[in-house]
């Protein structure tokens, strides 16, 4: 089945220790997204890729970066995780359309714990 896969599902890191979360997709969608979802809050878009074009949301901290080496993979790098970065990180994909009506397909998320 075509899908969005996130690894690992659970990640524990230490305060200040860089961490990378990965996302892969078999849908061949050209748009990929990273959302941060804190407990009892709405998912918040961090950035997205349209093909290889990176689009950062204005209020995404510099501590968060992303790489997309090819269509299938996208990585979220947190350079120096703080306690406030503990959250669920959701990867999503969509097929581009002129009017943006296409649904986003989500992965199961990676729950990040910062000690």
């Amino acid at each position: 089945d075509a899908m969005v896969i996130q690894n690992p599902r659970y990640q524990v890191t230490q305060f200040g220790k860089p961490v990378t979360l990965s996302c892969s997709q078999t849908l061949n969608h050209n748009v990929m997204y990273w959302y941060q979802q804190k407990s009892s809050q709405a998912p918040k878009l961090l950035f997205h890729y349209y093909d290889k074009d990176f689009n950062n949301e204005a209020d995404t901290p510099d501590n968060f970066q992303s790489r997309r080496p090819n269509t299938s993979f996208c990585f979220l790098d947190i350079r120096s995780p703080g306690l406030g970065d503990a959250a669920m990180y959701l990867c999503a994909t969509s097929r581009d359309s002129a009017y943006g009506r296409n649904e986003q397909f989500f992965g199961p998320g990676t729950r990040l714990t910062v000690l």
Binding site: V4, V31, Y33, S40, Q41, A42, P43, K44, L45, H48, Y50, N55, E57, L90, A92, S94, Y99, G100, R101, E103, Q104, F106, G107, P108, G109
Partner: protein, 115 residues
């Protein structure tokens, strides 16, 4: 920025009964999309139903239907014949048709289905 408000943090419904989840949004745009996403515990978010603002007819997907009131900026989700598998967090989301790819999510409503 557009805001999406879900005023019901939790709702409960008995199996086979009908429940309505509320969502209001704030926008100055005339063309946009509205979505309801379902996020079961420890599973990925999936699209339940989508509504295009230019369509007057309310969207329906099997047991799920919406009541879209454009003037009131209201977009409620009705679940008929509720099933145990409907238990999940439900997120209402808004997307501009003209500006970017970001989905603006509400904080979600946790739906409990009792036998």
């Amino acid at each position: 920025a557009q805001t999406v408000t879900q005023s019901q943090p939790e709702m409960s419904v008995q199996e086979a009964e009908t429940v309505t989840l509320s969502c209001t949004y704030d926008t100055s745009e005339s063309d946009y999309y509205l979505f309801w996403y379902k996020q079961p515990p420890s599973r990925q978010m999936i699209l339940v139903i989508r509504q295009e603002a230019y369509k007057q007819q309310n969207a329906t997907e099997n047991r799920f239907s919406v009541n879209f009131q454009k003037a009131a900026k209201s977009f409620s989700l009705k679940i008929s014949d509720s099933q145990l598998g409907d238990a999940a967090m439900y997120f209402c989301a808004y997307k501009d048709s003209n500006s970017g790819y970001a989905l603006n999510f509400g904080k979600g409503t946790s739906l409990l289905v009792t036998p």
